[in-house]
C-alpha cells in the first residue's frame, strides 16, 4: 500500500467556509457599475409561425437601451454536437416549444426590462403541436425542423456479436418495456450571468456554467468574436447535473447586448425559465429482450429505444448513443444489438443529466435481470456474480475495463446490508432489492471533433516559495473539484494541502472541457499532477546544482526536502533565505530544508517558477460508428442494495436503508467520494419516486416549480451506508477514477426490485408514485379473482 500525505484522506472542502457562511458569491449576487438588466421574450406557443415582430412600443419605453431579435443577432446555427447545430439565438420564422426565444431587451433596471419585453408584439400562426414521440414519427406528421422531415433527430443501429444466434443459444428469452418521464436537473441555482464588453473589445462573461470552455467556443462562433478576446469566468456555481454543460440563451444574449450597448448586462433565469431551458433527462421508451441459458449465463440483449428529445438536439446525439452503449457491462455479454431513435417534439429540449443516457436503460435492464433471476430460481446476487466482468475484461462494444471492482462492490453490499439474512424472509410490505451499474470516467472525446487536450493546468510558485498557485479551467460546480485538484497538486508536488491556492473555472487559465461525463478527477487531475511534477523537477534541479547532490537522491514531501542518502548540509541556503526573508511574515523554522526555502532559491536562480501539464486520453477502443460515445480511459462501477417499506393500502413507499459500494479507483478525498455517493442516491431516489415534468395538451409545463416538481427532502432520504472500493485504475492519476455519475446507476432499479420484493408488483413506468403502486396492486388482486 502506497503512503500518501494528502490524498486518500478526509479533508474538509476548500469552499466549505464560504458556502456555509453565505460569503460565496454566485452569478446572481454579482453586480457591476453602470450595469443594464436583460430580459427575454419567449414563445407562448409550442409550435407556430412567426408572422411579424413589432418592437415600436418597446423602443419608446423610457429606460430601454437595446432590443435584439433574429434580425440583429443573425442566424448562425449552434448547438452542442457540430453534426446537429440546430439552434439560432432567436427564432426567425417559427417557434418550436413554449419558451423558445424570440427577443431580448436591455434596460436600466429589471422592472423596465420586463415591461419592455411585454410590449413587443408578435403575430403568430399556430401550427399543429406534437408532444409525443410516436406521433412525431408517424407518416405525414408535420416537420418541426425542415431538415428532418420525419422528426428523427438522430438514429443509431449497432450490433455486436450476433443477437439472433445468441437467442438461438438461449434457454429463456423475455421482453419488457420500460418508460420514464422527462426530468429537470433541479439544481438549486438558476442560471445567471453578467457580460462585460470593454473598450478594448474584450468580452468577459461571468456565468453559472459547467463548462467555461464550451461556452467560450459557442459565444465566439455565434457572435463572431475571436476566442482570445473572450474570457468566461465561473463564480461559485450551485449545481449543474448536465443542463449547464453548454451555452444558453441568456449567456449569448447578454454578450450581444453588452457588445452593442458598451455596458455590462446582467441576465438570469427564473425557476420557470430553468424548466423551459431544460436540457435535462430525456424521456426514454425502452424495449429490452434478453436471452439467458438455464445456468444463468446472459447470452444476448436486444435494446430498442425511442427518446423524446424536445425541440432541439442539445447533447441528444450523445444521449441516444449512451442509451445503448452503457448496457455493454458490467456483465459478460457477447451479443448486443441496439436501435435508438432520438425524436424531435414541441417540448423544451432535453440533454445530458447525471448518468447521461444510461440511467433509464440501466433501470429497465436491472429490473428485467431480476425478473429473469427469479424465473431461473436464482438469487439475484448469485445471478449477477455469475456474469460479472472483472479487471481487464473488454465489453462486446469495446469498452476496456482497465480496472473494475464490480465483484468486490457487489459482495460488499451483500455483506454490508445483511442480504442473506433478509432476502426472501421479510414480511409483506417490506422488501430488499439489488442492482449494479457502471459509468465512464470522462468522455473519451470532446463534443466537437478535435485533437485538443481535454485538460491543461499551470502551477506558479510565489516568490517567497510559500504558496503554490494552481491555475485550471476546470469547473467547480459543487462536486468538489477545487478541493480534489488542490489535493492532487499538493501530493504530487510534496507540499501541504493548505499551501495550494487554486484558481479555477476561467478560460484564461487554460483549456478544460469542464464538469460533465465525470471527467475532471481523472482528466484535470492528470494535467494538475503533471504540472506539479514539472514544478517539483524545476525546484529540485536548482537544488541539485546548489547542493551538488544528484537529483534522483532528493524528493519533496510534506513541504520538506528529503535527502534519500542521508543529510546534506543546507545551512548556506537556509541562511540566504533568512536574509532574503527579513521583515516578512511566516518564515520556516524547521531545521530541515523546506520546500518554501528551496522554491525561493529556485526563484532567485530562474525567475518565476511555472510548470504546466496537459492531458488527453490515449488510444481508445472501438472503430465502429458511434464508438466515440461510451469509450473512456476508465470506468467506475457500483452496486447498491435498497430496503423499502410499502404501505399495501395507500401504495406509499418509504426507503428505509441504502447500502452503496462504489469503485472510484482510489479515493482522493474519502469524504468527497461519500458525498457524491449520497448525492447520487438522493437524486436517483427522486427520479425513482417523484420526478416528472408534466405537460398540458398545448405543451405548457404544468409544474415548473420545486413545489410541484419534487426532489427528495432530507426526510425522504434514509441513512446511507457508503462503502468505498479501490481498484487502482492504471489510467487514472494516483489510480483515481469517477464517482460523480456511476453511483446513480443502480439506485432506481434497486428501489424497483425492492418494491417488487415488498409487494409482488413490477412497476415499469417511472416515477413510482403511491398511486401507481396502488393501481398495480388492484390489478394484481383482480388477476387473482
Amino acid at each position: 500500500m502506497k503512503q500518501f500525505s494528502v490524498i486518500n484522506t478526509r479533508l474538509p472542502r476548500i469552499d466549505a467556509h464560504a458556502k456555509v457562511t453565505g460569503d460565496a458569491q454566485y452569478a446572481a449576487d454579482l453586480s457591476m457599475p453602470n450595469m443594464l438588466y436583460g430580459a427575454l421574450l419567449q414563445s407562448p406557443f409550442a409550435h407556430a409561425k412567426i408572422l411579424n415582430i413589432d418592437i415600436s412600443k418597446t423602443k419608446r419605453l423610457v429606460g430601454v437601451k437595446d432590443i435584439i431579435t433574429a434580425k440583429e443577432a443573425g442566424l448562425i446555427k449552434y448547438g452542442v454536437s457540430p453534426a446537429r447545430y440546430d439552434e439560432t439565438l432567436f427564432c426567425d420564422k417559427k417557434v418550436r416549444y413554449i419558451g423558445d426565444e424570440i427577443a431580448a431587451v436591455a434596460a436600466v433596471d429589471i422592472e423596465t426590462a420586463l415591461e419592455a419585453v411585454s410590449l413587443i408584439k408578435v403575430d403568430y400562426e399556430p401550427l399543429p403541436v406534437i408532444l409525443n414521440v410516436f406521433d412525431a414519427i408517424k407518416e405525414g406528421a408535420p416537420a418541426i425542423h425542415d431538415d428532418f422531415p420525419n422528426n428523427i433527430c438522430a438514429e443509431v443501429h449497432q450490433e455486436f456479436g450476433n443477437v439472433e444466434e445468441g437467442f438461438k443459444q438461449s434457454d429463456y428469452i423475455r421482453t419488457d418495456k420500460f418508460v420514464n418521464k422527462k426530468q429537470d436537473g433541479a439544481f438549486l441555482e438558476p442560471q445567471a450571468c453578467i457580460a462585460v464588453y470593454d473598450l478594448n473589445e474584450n468580452l468577459t462573461l461571468y456565468t453559472s456554467t459547467q463548462s467555461p470552455h464550451y461556452v467560450q467556443r459557442t459565444v465566439a462562433m455565434v457572435l463572431n468574436i475571436p476566442i482570445g478576446k473572450i474570457r468566461v469566468v465561473q463564480p461559485y456555481v450551485g449545481g449543474g447535473f448536465g443542463p449547464k454543460a453548454a451555452a444558453n440563451s441568456i449567456e449569448l444574449s447578454a454578450c450581444l447586448l453588452s457588445k452593442r450597448t458598451g455596458r455590462p448586462v446582467k441576465m438570469g433565469f427564473t425557476r420557470e425559465q430553468v424548466f423551459l431551458h431544460s436540457r435535462g433527462r430525456h424521456q426514454f421508451y425502452h424495449e429490452l429482450t434478453t436471452g439467458v441459458k438455464k445456468d444463468g449465463t446472459i447470452v444476448a440483449l436486444k435494446n430498442t429505444c425511442y427518446l423524446d428529445g424536445g425541440a432541439y438536439a442539445s447533447f441528444g446525439i450523445a444521449t441516444v448513443y449512451y442509451a445503448g452503449s452503457l448496457l455493454g457491462g458490467p456483465y459478460k455479454l457477447a451479443n448486443m444489438k441496439y436501435d435508438g431513435y432520438r425524436v424531435y417534439t414541441n417540448k423544451p429540449a432535453c440533454g445530458a443529466q447525471r448518468g447521461h443516457g444510461g440511467v433509464v436503460a440501466r433501470a429497465a435492464w436491472e429490473q428485467q435481470l431480476d425478473i429473469i433471476a427469479e424465473e431461473l430460481g436464482m438469487d439475484p446476487i448469485e445471478f449477477r456474480l455469475k456474469n460479472i466482468m472483472q479487471r481487464g475484461d473488454v465489453t462486446c462494444n469495446d469498452l476496456n475495463m482497465s480496472s473494475l471492482g464490480m465483484r468486490e462492490s457487489l459482495e460488499a453490499v451483500r455483506d454490508g446490508s445483511g442480504w442473506v439474512r433478509k432476502k426472501g424472509k421479510l414480511p409483506k410490505g417490506k422488501g430488499i432489492g439489488v442492482a449494479c451499474g457502471f459509468f465512464v470516467s470522462g468522455a473519451g472525446y470532446p463534443i466537437y471533433r478535435s485533437e485538443t487536450f481535454h485538460s491543461t493546468a499551470m502551477i506558479k510558485l510565489s516568490e517567497d516559495g510559500g504558496t503554490v498557485d494552481l491555475f485550471t479551467a476546470a469547473a467547480e460546480i459543487g462536486q468538489g473539484s477545487d478541493t480534489i485538484l488542490s489535493m492532487i497538486a499538493a501530493e504530487a508536488l510534496g507540499v501541504r494541502f493548505e499551501d495550494v491556492k487554486i484558481h479555477s473555472g476561467n478560460t484564461d487559465f487554460g483549456v478544460d472541457l469542464g464538469a460533465y461525463s465525470s471527467r475532471q478527477t481523472l482528466m484535470s487531475g492528470h494535467a494538475v499532477k503533471q504540472a506539479a511534477e514539472n514544478v517539483k523537477q524545476q525546484v529540485l534541479e536548482v537544488l541539485s546544482k546548489k547542493l551538488n547532490t544528484p537529483l534522483e537522491d532528493m524528493d519533496i514531501k510534506d513541504g520538506l526536502i528529503i535527502f534519500k542518502k542521508g543529510p546534506v548540509d543546507c545551512s548556506s541556503l537556509k541562511a540566504s533565505y533568512i536574509k532574503e526573508h527579513r521583515g516578512w511574515a511566516k518564515f520556516p523554522t524547521e531545521s530541515q530544508l523546506t520546500f518554501q526555502e528551496a522554491a525561493r532559491i529556485a526563484y532567485l536562480e530562474k525567475g518565476v517558477i511555472v510548470g504546466s501539464g496537459a492531458y488527453k486520453p490515449g488510444e481508445l477502443g472501438g472503430k465502429y460508428k458511434g464508438a466515440a460515445v461510451g469509450t473512456s480511459p476508465a470506468y467506475g462501477c457500483s452496486a447498491q442494495i435498497v430496503e423499502v417499506t410499502v404501505d399495501m393500502e395507500t401504495g406509499e413507499v418509504t426507503v428505509d436503508n441504502m447500502t452503496d459500494a462504489h469503485d472510484c479507483g482510489l479515493a482522493i478525498n474519502r469524504m468527497n467520494v461519500e458525498g457524491q455517493m449520497q448525492g447520487s442516491l438522493s437524486m436517483g431516489l427522486g427520479e425513482a419516486l417523484f420526478e416528472e415534468v408534466k405537460f398540458d395538451k398545448k405543451g405548457k409545463i404544468e409544474n415548473p416549480t420545486l413545489g410541484e416538481y419534487r426532489i427528495p427532502t432530507a426526510l425522504d432520504m434514509p441513512n446511507v451506508n457508503t462503502i468505498i472500493i479501490e481498484s487502482n485504475e492504471p489510467n487514472g492519476p494516483f489510480g483515481a477514477k469517477e464517482v460523480g455519475e456511476g453511483a446513480i446507476m443502480p439506485t432506481i432499479p434497486a428501489i424497483l426490485n425492492a418494491i417488487y420484493d415488498a409487494t409482488g408488483v413490477r412497476i415499469k413506468e417511472l416515477p413510482v408514485t403511491a398511486e401507481r403502486i396502488y393501481h398495480a396492486l388492484k390489478e394484481k388482486e383482480k388477476g387473482k379473482e
Partner: protein, 296 residues
C-alpha cells in the same frame, strides 16, 4: 426574476389602527400575516394590492388564551409555535399534528394560523382539524365584530365569508369532553414540503371508555373545493359502539361524501380510495385515544 409589484406597507401596533387602515383603503388593501401565500401570489401577478397591512406588531394576536370553556388562539400565531404550546399539544393534539406536517421548518416559522385559514386552499392543513374540533373564528372590522363557525366560513378555493375590511383576530376552539380522541393523516408524495393529495381529520367522543359514540367529526381535505364533513359517515357512527366493522362502514360512506377531481397531484379514483383508507385509519386511532379517557 420574479418581482413584487409596488405597494404601501403599514405595521400598526393596535388592532383598531389596523381596522381603520383597512376600512379607509377599501378593497385595495390586504392583510399580510406571514406572507407565505400572499407574497407568492403577488410575485406571480395574481393579485396586486396597493396597500399591505401587517399584523406582526400587534402582540395580542400572537397569544394563546384559556377561557372557561374554550381556548382562543391569536390569528398571528406562527405554525411552528402551535405545535409547541403544551396546552395545544395536550388538549388539541390533532391541531399540533397538523401543524407539524405543514410545509417545512422555514415555512412554519413564518406562516400563521390566520393566514392558513383565510387563504382557503382546498388542501390546507389546519382547516380540516379545526373543523373537526368545532372551531369558530372571530372577525373584526372598524364597526363590528362577529363570530363565524369554521364550518360556515369557507365558500370555495380562495373564497370565504370574510369581508374586505374584516380581520380574523382569534380562533376559538371549545374544550373537548372526556373520552375524546382524534387523528389527522395527510397523504402526500414526499415526507415534507407537501400539499396533501388527500387528508382526513377525525374526532370521536365516547360516553364512557367502553361505551358508544356520542359525537363524531370526520373532515375530508383536498377532495372538494373546500374541506368538507363526511356527513353520512359521521351520522352512522353516532350512538353506535365502536368496532373495526363500524369504522369500515363509515369509511366507505365517506368516499361518497366528497367530490375529488383529477389534477397534477392525483387522480379521482385514487383520491376516493384514499378517503376510505384514511378515514378508517384516523377513526381507529381516535378510538384508541378516546378509550384512554384523558381529555384531549
Amino acid at each position: 426574476m420574479l418581482l413584487l409589484p409596488k405597494f404601501d406597507y403599514y405595521e400598526p401596533k393596535e388592532l383598531t389602527e389596523a381596522c381603520r387602515l383597512l376600512s379607509e383603503t377599501g378593497s385595495k388593501a390586504k392583510i399580510i400575516a406571514g406572507g407565505t401565500d400572499i407574497l407568492v401570489n403577488m410575485k406571480k401577478g395574481l393579485i396586486s394590492p396597493k396597500v399591505l397591512v401587517s399584523l406582526g406588531r400587534i402582540s395580542r394576536l400572537s397569544e394563546v388564551e384559556r377561557m372557561n370553556k374554550s381556548i382562543t388562539i391569536g390569528s398571528h400565531l406562527i405554525i411552528a409555535k402551535l405545535a409547541e404550546f403544551d396546552l395545544i399539544r395536550k388538549r388539541f393534539s390533532i391541531l399540533a399534528s397538523a401543524a407539524k406536517v405543514l410545509g417545512s421548518p422555514l415555512v412554519r416559522n413564518r406562516a400563521t394560523i390566520g393566514g392558513n385559514i383565510v387563504t382557503a386552499r382546498p388542501a390546507a392543513d389546519l382547516p380540516p382539524v379545526l373543523m373537526a374540533l368545532g372551531a369558530k373564528v372571530k372577525l373584526k372590522s372598524r364597526r363590528s365584530e362577529r363570530e363565524v363557525a369554521l364550518d360556515d366560513f369557507f365558500i370555495g378555493p380562495g373564497a370565504t365569508v370574510i369581508k374586505p375590511d374584516e380581520i380574523l383576530t382569534r380562533v376559538i376552539i371549545p374544550e373537548t369532553p372526556s373520552y375524546t380522541g382524534g387523528h389527522y393523516i395527510k397523504l402526500g408524495h414526499r415526507k415534507a414540503l407537501e400539499i396533501a393529495i388527500v387528508a382526513v381529520a377525525s374526532k370521536i367522543t365516547l360516553n364512557k371508555p367502553d361505551g358508544v359514540i356520542k359525537d363524531a367529526k370526520i373532515v375530508l381535505s383536498a377532495v372538494a373545493p373546500k374541506a368538507v364533513h363526511a356527513k353520512s359517515a359521521e351520522e352512522v357512527l353516532i350512538g353506535e359502539k365502536p368496532s373495526a366493522k363500524l369504522f369500515e362502514e363509515a369509511a366507505s360512506l365517506a368516499m361518497n361524501d366528497c367530490k375529488p377531481i383529477t389534477d397534477i397531484r392525483g387522480g379521482v379514483d385514487y383520491r376516493q380510495a384514499m378517503v376510505e383508507i384514511l378515514t378508517r385509519r384516523t377513526l381507529s386511532f381516535a378510538w384508541k385515544e378516546a378509550k384512554k379517557g384523558k381529555k384531549q
